[in-house]
């Protein structure tokens, strides 16, 4: 990101664009990647409630996967899943 001059930024440290942290991808922190087994998933959405990073993707209110742009790979979703339909796999496997 190009750094702006003092004339270009709002005064007082104000940030005008809500939620622009979405432009900062935290997915590259990840060393383990969650993988969903859709067959097993019962859509209890526990993963959605406990994800610290809002990285559970819902489609029509149903669990449909992960947003790897932000998922830091903590593994809480896999650990808390009551039917164990999420497994954590080493990130190297996907490179």
């Amino acid at each position: 990101m190009k750094l702006m001059t003092w004339q270009e930024i709002p005064i007082g440290g104000l940030i005008l664009e809500a939620g622009n942290a979405k432009k900062f991808l935290t997915g590259d922190w990840r060393s383990q990647r969650p993988i969903l087994d859709e067959e097993k998933c019962i859509n209890c959405l526990t993963c959605f409630m406990v994800c610290p990073d809002g990285s559970i993707v819902l489609k029509d209110g149903k669990m449909s996967g992960f947003n790897y742009d932000y998922c830091k790979g903590c593994g809480i979703c896999a650990y808390e899943c009551p039917v164990k339909c999420i497994t954590m796999k080493p990130e190297e496997d996907f490179r």
Partner: protein, 321 residues
């Protein structure tokens, strides 16, 4: 209408539809309990919210200039004044509304966040003042039981026996030698309409309490246990599990005080009450307690928990403030 569509929505479906107020892209640690707390609590209302936040993990990691993870108005002022800052914001809202500069029917929920250091310690005066004055706001203390943002130093929320960098275990020390301050009771003693203790381990309980706190008129207080993988020394996938274990061992009873009436929101039957060793074992910060010389420390912790728990059971349903 098809039968499936008639199906009543589960609470979690409603929660999933609520607006996300803390966006992805924040830089809290992987597995952080504080962000889970913030995401869950802010699902407690559909009204617009305005947030103040004390200096601490939640604040620094969510607002690294030029980025903000907040989808709602947010102000950070300093470490000890989250409650005083929201007092001013809320007073401004009342003033401008009274003058017709903000529409009469405009609703805003004011939420002040602070960690345990910013709440139990350096911010307690500002919090006490704001509660006593009766501002219409919810104060949320996300309690990770030490100054985590500055690198794990003891606070008055740090439990007895815990290692921190300023209460290290050593040949002459078993870690922190004082019990935690009972902050929820301190806040409830301000005769506020709602005060509660919750844990991210039990999200249904937490969300319910958040809804109640956000709905009452006047000050409300929520103390939320937010386990910290880094500071407590446990694997990051266990954050929620450890939040549950704290409750199941009665280390962290879930209760609320509504209009002065004390109520346990999760009763742990005697046969299900887990020994405190299970909770202590789960975290590296208590590792030293399992050395032979510290046996009595664990006994002392268990004894305190048992006494407190008996007291809570006895008080359940009583008007205590």
């Amino acid at each position: 209408m098809a039968k499936t569509e008639m199906k009543k929505k589960r609470k979690i479906d409603i929660m999933a539809e609520m607006p996300e107020r803390l966006s992805s892209g924040h830089r809290l640690c992987a597995g952080c309990g504080a962000s889970i707390a913030a995401r869950q609590i802010l699902r407690g209302t559909t009204d617009p919210v305005v947030i103040s936040c004390a200096t601490g993990c939640l604040e620094v990691a969510s607002t690294i200039y030029p980025y903000t993870a907040w989808e709602v108005p947010f102000i950070h002022n300093a470490f000890e004044n989250s409650a005083a800052t929201i007092s001013g914001v809320e007073a401004a809202f009342r003033s401008l509304k009274k003058q017709g500069k903000i529409p009469k029917n405009k609703k805003i929920k004011f939420v002040a966040f602070g960690g345990d250091g910013g709440t139990y310690d350096i911010g307690i005066q500002s919090l006490s003042g704001a509660l006593e004055r009766g501002h219409d706001f919810v104060y949320v203390c996300y309690d990770n039981e030490a100054y985590m943002n500055t690198g794990i130093q003891r606070s008055s929320a740090t439990p007895f026996g815990a290692f921190t960098n300023t209460s290290p275990a050593g040949s002459c020390s078993f870690g922190k030698s004082q019990f935690r301050k009972d902050l929820t009771m301190i806040c409830a003693a301000h005769h506020i309409p709602y005060a509660a203790q919750a844990s991210i381990g039990y999200w249904q309980d937490l969300v319910k309490k958040a809804e109640k706190a956000l709905a009452v008129e006047g000050p409300a207080f929520l103390l939320v246990l937010a386990p910290c993988p880094r500071g407590w020394r446990f694997p990051m996938e266990k954050t929620v599990e450890i939040g549950k274990l704290a409750v199941d061992t009665c280390f962290w009873p879930l209760y609320e005080i509504e209009n002065g009436v004390f109520k346990l929101t999760k009763k742990i039957p005697d046969k299900k009450k887990k020994p405190i060793t299970e909770w202590l074992k789960s975290q590296g910060r208590f590792k030293h307690l399992f050395e032979e010389c510290n046996e009595n420390v664990i006994e002392e912790i268990q004894q305190k928990i048992d006494e407190d728990w008996q007291r809570y059971l006895k008080t359940n349903g009583d008007k205590i403030f």
